[in-house]
Symmetry: none
Subunit: 424 residues, 2 copies
């Protein structure tokens, strides 16, 4: 992964941005947004929400010892966010876009682009990115394993570098970058490429990998390029024991979204140790500052650059990782670790401090969940809702109620005194 990072600094998503409404239900925010000196810090705890443990009846947040977050809850307004709709589990893309105020059903980042963002890959406007999987086929070309036995990075990275990276197709520049295990990213760069092509993954074993078909007339060239690449790869991979074929999904271009900075009249900064979250922030036009490896690094970056911006998105990953692993105790520990950093954020005295999550990742589900996510907003207008702790149940009783995540930015701006009256 470092290989990709070193070769490909993050330079994507400098615009151009579309001017337009980012919420379906509030088309023109510029009428009511005001630029002021106040500062907002939005801490996004990935996979924040949980579900009670079957044994104790307590969720991860309720089990954890969180003296600082509990004290913060006691002097904040509490509530819950619904990332997309009740029952709908978001991926990281929709989960973050909603917190940034973008209607997640209107704005969409494709799987290929997100995978590329996740390894800090260079994406230029017009590039097509796809997520690739190595897979296994039998002598008749029938898929026997869609993930090639989940071969480890130590086996797959050399195949990407020595095999896939050598493939040339006329009239287009192809870049293949390893991701992890059986996964890689294919980027096609050239004129007149289109993401409107079908995927090659039949989504089941027992079938043959599919040809790419254009779904619009302008995608003919792209389909030919991809099919040529796949045919060549198949030949070159034929003597591999497991990874003797590949599948491509989620063809997509870097989208042109309205600018977060322009929409909210903010000078926003993003701090995230994991590349995908830096990429998501850049897609909406935030400036990425610092790329440390730990949350402690992130906090230091926040402290060092606190004078330079009026909005900070800071991302905490480990709650999600532990939840995805189905490790209840590890998620409890991740939340307790996070708690120790809260005083350092409060010491900066942000005018508004938001603690939110992009989605729940209940450890008992070992996956993202659809559940409403706990939320706190602390400002000089909050003195506490009678909530005594930071948890799913406590926040259910908070004054913010249960809101759509895409409306959170409005509340953050309002608490910061950055929203004027709507209508006379």
């Amino acid at each position: 992964m470092s290989l990709a990072t070193d070769k490909n600094p993050v330079t994507q998503a400098k615009g151009p941005f579309v001017v337009g409404g980012i919420m379906i239900d509030f088309p023109d925010l510029s009428d009511i947004v005001d630029s002021t000196a106040s500062k907002i810090v939005m801490l996004v705890v990935d996979g924040l929400g949980g579900v009670p443990h079957r044994g104790t009846g307590l969720s991860e947040l309720e089990t954890a010892s969180l003296p600082n977050l509990d004290r913060l809850a006691q002097m904040s307004a509490g509530g819950r966010t619904i990332p997309v709709l009740p029952g709908v589990t978001p991926g990281s893309g929709p989960g973050h876009l909603a917190l940034f105020g973008y209607d997640p059903l209107k704005y969409f980042i494709g799987r290929g682009v997100l995978e590329a963002l996740g390894i800090d890959a260079l994406l230029r406007d017009g590039d097509i990115a796809a997520r690739g999987n190595f897979c296994s086929i039998d002598s008749n070309g029938i898929l026997t394993d869609r993930r090639a036995g989940r071969i480890p990075s130590s086996e797959s990275f050399p195949i990407v570098e020595t095999v896939l990276s050598t493939i040339n197709v006329p009239n287009v520049e192809l870049v293949v970058l390893p991701v992890q295990d059986h996964r890689f990213v294919l980027i096609a760069r050239g004129s007149e490429l289109s993401a409107n092509v079908t995927e090659t993954d039949p989504q089941r074993t027992g079938a043959t990998p599919l040809l790419v078909i254009p779904t619009e007339p302008g995608a003919q060239k792209t389909a030919e390029v991809i099919n040529t690449f796949v045919a060549e790869a198949r030949e070159l991979l034929s003597d591999q024991p497991k990874a003797n074929m590949l599948l491509l999904r989620g063809f997509s271009k870097l989208p042109s979204f309205p600018s977060f900075a322009q929409t909210y009249k903010l000078n926003p900064a993003a701090i995230a140790a994991y590349p995908m979250y830096r990429g998501l922030a850049q897609v909406v036009g935030m400036e990425v500052i610092g790329t440390g490896n730990t949350f402690g690094d992130e906090i230091r970056v926040l402290e060092d650059h606190y004078g330079d911006h009026d909005f900070f998105y800071i991302h905490y990953k480990h709650a999600d990782t532990a939840g995805e692993d189905g490790d209840f105790e590890a998620k409890v520990k991740a939340l307790e670790d996070l708690d120790t950093y809260i005083p350092r954020i409060l010491d900066l005295k942000p005018d508004v401090f938001v603690v939110a999550g992009d989605h729940a990742t209940p450890a008992i589900m070992a996956a993202h969940g659809w559940q409403p996510v706990p939320l706190l907003i602390h400002s000089n207008l909050t003195i506490g809702d009678g909530i005594d702790a930071f948890s799913e149940r406590a926040c259910l009783g908070g004054s913010l109620g249960t809101i759509q995540a895409q409306h959170l930015m409005l509340l953050a701006l309002a608490h910061a005194g950055k929203l004027t009256k709507y209508g006379p």
Copy 2:
């Protein structure tokens, strides 16, 4: 009513269905819906929600002794549904469509069609149905009573059969079916009929019944047919003491809605003792199984067919009937009766058991109400929200929050493991 039922088996609404989004706010559910073996039972308690009794301060649910529903509440996720919008009281059509996941402001079933569904009348694609009222006019043709003194069925049914059913109009087949008291249904069958015509009811006494006027060019023939029928009827009814004229409202065709089964990748079954609710289920493409007369019959049908489907809509009517009658005690009794059947549903061990209502029918209003309706979802992910009873107030504190009824299906699917992640 049995007359209409016997002559006209339910055969409507076998499609064709429109492929498309059934919620305005989630255009393509097929991306995230997964077909699995899990089973969902949705119990719709008609008119479920209520309002506290002035004397005791307790609602119908709070007054009733509901040991089984209370126990269920203690191990479920609770919440409330808003059928349409805050303050908006739904009819049975919008109330049910919302629970089935159809945006009730986008999908509409006309008054004529709903009245026909309520008597199990045969409706074919293209038929025009209207709700008819007998009424009284004076010698100048001025309306003196829009409901003909609410003449009883014993008087009105013979008039329908011996007078209205004898009327012939060229180029169209007319079917007139009695409903109850002063009400009947007119069905016009033939080519090139349109529901886009005005109503004949001026909505007040002191005016004359109106001529039907086409509101689109293609409705000329229909307007002529209806006006001819009304003129003929007026002559034939002229010697009736009360029912000497008729009014027609709600001209409508059986709508083409997206298929519930296709949208949710379910094999859905509907169980309802009352025809209208079977008809509503058929309009969205559910298979009606069994047409017993009591809720006990319905439960037996559920038990007998439990292996054949993965989604069951089962309808309980009496809470609404008692509420509409303004009979608080009868509604309490209806809820207590329902409670005794809950163990038989739980014995089937559905993966997801939803208890919902299409709307409130508070006894003190003696009518449908707009109030949020209590909701329970029980699955292997619920262990209770701290709710100790099934009531409006208890459910207000539940983790599901107060949601739009049209999103309930998403939650039911999510709890059943039938929804995959939205977006990468």
